[in-house]
Every structure is written in structure tokens, then in C-alpha cells.
């Protein structure tokens, strides 16, 4: 029968097509699962306090292999030096304490928002004389966002380890303007003190330029 013949003739290609579709589906599922594991918003089940808060102070210094925080702001007309945003973002999120506990998702989100608000030195250097005669808006915004993190830590001392680590990385980030680095250094110093520690626990403090450390002493 013409129909049967047709069916029989198409059985081969149809079967191959079916396996091809199944293969693609598996591949997509694998990609989706991989994305799910690394996406910013972690599933609610890991929000349990026991799993997310590190009661111990953050005494662990930054690893030299850790990348600096994100290089930020993509305001119109302003170039940024952000290179591998996704990778850096993931690293920022997965910043565990020394006992390996990841930060709470709320903190991760906050850290991302703060990071994105920070203008890079390169971005500030594209501004005009008129725009920098007084503090550029981008720096004001970054200061305001860093203040949100201060509030979060003040409200929840269990976040100290994550906040301090964030501040340390910020202070070490050479792509940030001195103003931001100094503000982060001062915040790190303040919360280390609140945590019963000192700058001696900021093992890489000496790598923060003297001019930045001296600037931080002003506040």
C-alpha cells in the first residue's frame, strides 16, 4: 500500500529523529540542571539557619587564588572592566567561611547588589571635570549600597564572617577607586573589632596600599 510503503520508508529516519530528540532533551536537561546548581537564588531548603549561618568569626584570610569582587557598574557611556561576569558572580556567591558554610542567599543577593553598584576606577575616569567636581553620583550610590551591608551586619551579627570577607576582597580590589577601597577597609576594621578581632586577622591587610589604609583612618 502506498501508505504502508510510505510509513515503512519513513520508519528509519523517524526512529533516528526520535533518538536525536531524546539526546537533545537529555543534553538540555543536563544544562538546565547545571544552571540550577549555580543560579543566584538557591532553593529555599538551604535557608535553614543551621545550614547557613556561621557562628564562628571569620578569621580565615582571603586565599590568594580567590578572585577579586566584581567590577561593577555599567552606567550608560561608562566602560567597565568586568571580564567574566558570570564566573565572578558565582565566586562571589560561593564564598564560604573557613568551616565551609556558604553564605545565606539573602546575603548573596545583597552582596551582588552592592557589588554591581560599585563603579570601577576605569569607569570614573571617563567622567568629565564637571561631573567629578563634586563626588560623582556613582560613588555616592556605592557608599549608600555599602551602608545597606553595614545595616545587614548590624541587624544580624551572624553575617559578620561573610561581610568581613566581602569587605576584605573589596579593599584588595585594584579595579576599585580608592574611596570605595578605603570605605571597605574601614568597614572590615570596624566589624573585625565588633567580632572581637583586629586587623591582624585580616591577613592580607598589608597588600592594601598604604594610601588606602591611611584614607580609611579618616573615618
Amino acid at each position: 500500500m502506498p501508505g504502508a510503503q510510505h510509513s515503512s520508508q519513513s520508519a528509519g529516519p523517524s526512529g533516528r529523529r526520535k533518538w536525536f530528540v531524546i539526546g537533545v532533551a537529555i543534553l538540555c536537561a543536563a544544562i538546565a540542571y547545571s544552571w540550577y546548581q549555580t543560579r543566584p537564588d538557591q532553593p529555599p531548603q538551604i535557608l535553614s539557619p543551621a545550614a547557613n549561618v556561621a557562628p564562628s568569626p571569620a578569621s580565615a584570610p582571603l586565599s590568594t587564588t580567590q578572585s577579586a569582587p566584581l567590577v561593577p557598574n555599567e552606567s550608560p557611556g561608562v566602560a567597565t572592566s568586568r571580564s567574566n561576569k558570570a564566573e565572578e558572580k558565582a565566586q562571589d556567591q560561593a564564598e564560604p567561611t573557613e568551616n565551609g558554610e556558604p553564605p545565606p542567599p539573602e546575603f548573596v543577593r545583597l552582596a551582588e547588589e552592592v557589588t554591581v553598584s560599585i563603579p570601577s576606577l576605569a569607569a570614573l575616569r571617563t567622567l568629565s571635570a564637571a561631573e567629578v567636581h563634586h563626588t560623582p553620583e556613582a560613588l555616592r550610590t556605592a557608599g549608600r549600597e555599602l551602608g545597606r551591608m553595614v545595616k545587614a551586619l548590624n541587624d544580624n551579627p551572624k553575617l559578620y564572617p561573610y561581610g568581613i570577607r566581602y569587605y576584605e576582597r573589596c579593599a584588595l580590589n585594584e579595579t576599585y577607586p580608592d574611596t570605595v577601597r578605603a570605605l571597605c577597609f574601614a568597614d572590615a576594621r570596624n566589624f573585625l573589632q565588633k567580632a572581637g578581632q583586629s586587623l591582624a586577622d585580616f591577613a592580607q591587610a598589608e597588600q592594601v596600599p598604604l594610601r588606602v589604609r591611611k584614607l580609611a583612618e579618616l573615618i
Partner: protein
């Protein structure tokens, strides 16, 4: 001719002038304030009693001696009232830890709201709007005028032309190229505030003639000293910082007012406390956004800001952190140590900050 000399200066400082709409006025302002595009923001107050809806500025807060050009937007003008009133609402405590330093810096006996207001009003008397074109409002008063220190000018004034020329030379450093590029960007920048009187004064001094500025609704004002104090204000502040708290904005505005007021101080080589070009490696390298003076406009503005910030009872963590960022930003602008200017032929010098003589030249 007066105009030709002004135009010459205007042309040579075009890169700076474009930052604000009024070319000559800005040029003068820039030159006077050390070529610093003294674009800060401000608001206004007035001598007029409250009432009326004639579009002019009316005092809504503490009485003050400021006189506003008739063209000043009422809302902007009244913002100065708000800021001056804030000094009274959030006074600096007598036991504030930085008080002695502040008093020494500003030559004050105390930091009461009245003393601060007087300090400001001794340096600022007139407020004009962002469209005020000095070129259209300035004229030479016939006869000669005996200026104090007739042969002394700020280095930033006399160096202005070569500095700018070097910066915008065709085959220059990256900083120079950026300066050229920034010229286009400045057209988008809004005027916040600029002190005009220092530039007008120095221009007249260079000519040996007294200059007179005709201000709408006020009449001719003779610029016998930078202390005559003519501020040009614009809308920049109101559109730029809407994300900040009201408290933060008031403190920032107050800081800006005192910063600009400082440009009415100085004499001889320190006249107007001119800004200098930021050196290589600085966040603002190549731009006129730094000070050599330890007691210059950035220091004064930052000190007032810090005093108000640390006296603020309604500032939350975000506000404090934002104000700290502004304080640190201002602090980075006072140069120290060995610096190199980004000229075609780089110039290196020791910029250890020094106190300039703040006593005024001439009399209002």
C-alpha cells in the same frame, strides 16, 4: 578691550567652559576658582519676606542676607533656605571631636549655626541662575582701580592657558586624550554651583580696571573683591541625587555651599583657592578636581560635611556610608607627596599640602 581679553581667555579655556552653559561666565568662574569647573549645586534663600507667587525666590527658612537674581528658579533658590535652616535644626555639638580643627580651618570662634551662616554670607552675597551669561552682564568701570598686590596672581590663573593647551594637545598622553573626550561629555553635565566672583575679580585685576556685573533684578555689582561672592546655581543637584535621603542631600548641599564659599577667600597667589589638575594615578587624573591647599575648598566642604554627618541623629547606615564616601572622595583630592601631572611633558613636584593664606583680597 575688556571684551577681547575676556574672549581670548574664553577661547583658550573652552574645554572648561563647555561644562556649563554660560561660556564666559564659566570661563571666569573656572579661572577664578582655579580653573575648577566649580559646578556644585545649591539652592537659594532671599531677603524677601514670605508670600507671593511671582516665581521669585522668597525666604522660607532662617532670615539671610543673600540676594537672588530675578531669573533664579524659586525652587532652587528656596533650597538654600532649607540648607541654611538645616544648620539650625542639626547644630554641631560643642563637644564634637573635630571642632577645634574646624574652627582653626575656617577661622571661627565657634561653630554655632549663626557663626556658620555668617561665615557663608561673608563670602557669598548674590545668586544667579545657570543661564546667567557673564559675558552679557560684565563691563569695565571707567577709570583706574588700585588693586592690592597688583602683580600677584594665583599660579593656576597664570598657568591656566599652558596647562590647558598641554592637556588638549593632539598627540598627548592618555590623560590628555581623555580630557579632550571629556569635553563632549561635559555638555551633558548640569550646573550644580560655581563661584563666579573670584574669576571676575582676577580678570579685572589683570586689566587694572574694576569690573561690574549687572545682575537681573539687583543691578550692577562692583567686584572689588572675590568676597563680593556671586554664586551661579543650577538644577544639577535636584536631578542627580534622588536616591539619597533628604538628610544626606541637605548635608551634601551644605558641604557644597561652604566649598564654593571658600573660593571667595585668599589673596595674592592664594586668591580664590584655585583647584589644580589631579596627578597621574589619581582617580581624577588630568582633571581640575584637586587641591594643593590643605585648607582649600575641598577640605572646607568635607569638614562641614563631616561635622553635620557626625551630628546627624536621623541618618541611617546607608546615609552615613554615603556621606563617608563623599568625605573620603573629597579627602583624596588634597594632594600630598610627590605627584606627576599628565602633561605632554610630565611635570613632577612635591605636593605636600600647605595652608594657603585665607585672608581676603580687597573689600566687598
Amino acid at each position: 578691550m575688556v571684551a577681547s581679553r575676556l574672549f581670548e581667555y574664553t577661547t583658550q579655556t573652552r574645554i572648561l567652559l563647555q561644562a556649563c552653559r554660560s561660556t564666559l561666565g564659566m570661563a571666569i568662574a573656572v579661572g577664578l576658582t582655579g580653573l575648577a569647573l566649580g559646578c556644585s549645586h545649591s539652592g537659594g534663600g532671599s531677603n524677601s519676606p514670605e508670600g507671593g507667587d511671582d516665581g521669585r525666590v522668597h525666604n522660607t527658612g532662617v532670615p539671610n542676607r543673600l540676594q537672588f537674581a530675578s531669573s533664579v528658579d524659586r525652587r532652587q533658590g528656596e533650597q538654600i533656605d532649607t540648607v541654611l535652616t538645616y544648620l539650625y535644626q542639626s547644630p554641631i555639638p560643642a563637644d564634637w571631636r573635630g571642632l577645634d580643627q574646624m574652627l582653626s580651618l575656617m577661622g571661627l570662634a565657634d561653630a554655632s549655626p549663626k557663626s556658620l551662616q555668617d561665615w557663608f554670607e561673608d563670602r557669598v552675597a548674590y545668586v544667579v541662575d545657570e543661564n546667567f551669561d557673564v559675558e552679557q552682564h560684565i563691563k569695565r568701570v571707567p577709570g583706574t582701580f588700585n588693586y592690592p598686590n597688583p602683580d600677584e596672581f594665583p599660579p593656576e590663573w597664570t598657568d591656566a592657558q599652558p596647562m590647558i593647551s598641554a592637556t588638549i594637545s593632539a598627540d598627548v598622553s592618555a590623560a590628555g586624550e581623555r580630557a579632550v573626550a571629556s569635553t563632549a561629555a561635559t555638555s551633558k553635565a548640569q550646573v550644580v554651583m560655581v563661584n563666579l566672583s573670584g574669576g571676575v575679580y582676577l580678570y579685572g585685576k589683570e586689566l587694572g580696571s574694576l569690573m561690574e556685573v549687572d545682575i537681573d533684578g539687583i543691578g550692577p555689582v562692583r567686584v572689588t573683591s572675590p568676597r563680593v561672592g556671586i554664586l551661579k546655581i543650577g538644577p544639577g543637584m535636584f536631578s542627580l541625587y534622588q536616591g539619597s535621603s533628604a538628610e544626606t542631600n541637605k548635608i551634601f548641599q551644605a558641604s557644597t555651599l561652604f566649598h564654593e564659599a571658600r573660593h571667595s577667600d585668599g589673596n595674592g597667589t592664594s586668591t580664590s583657592f584655585a583647584h589644580v589638575i589631579c596627578p597621574v594615578g589619581h582617580t581624577y587624573q588630568g582633571l581640575l578636581a584637586c587641591d594643593r591647599a590643605a585648607n582649600g575648598a575641598y577640605t572646607v566642604g568635607a569638614t562641614v560635611q563631616r561635622a553635620l554627618m557626625e551630628s546627624c541623629t536621623n541618618c541611617d547606615e546607608s546615609s552615613i556610608s554615603e556621606l563617608q564616601a563623599m568625605y573620603l572622595d573629597a579627602s583624596t583630592r588634597v594632594l600630598s607627596g610627590e605627584v606627576t601631572l599628565p602633561y605632554k611633558k610630565p611635570v613632577t613636584y612635591d605636593a605636600e599640602p600647605i595652608d594657603y593664606d585665607a585672608s581676603p583680597e580687597g573689600q566687598r
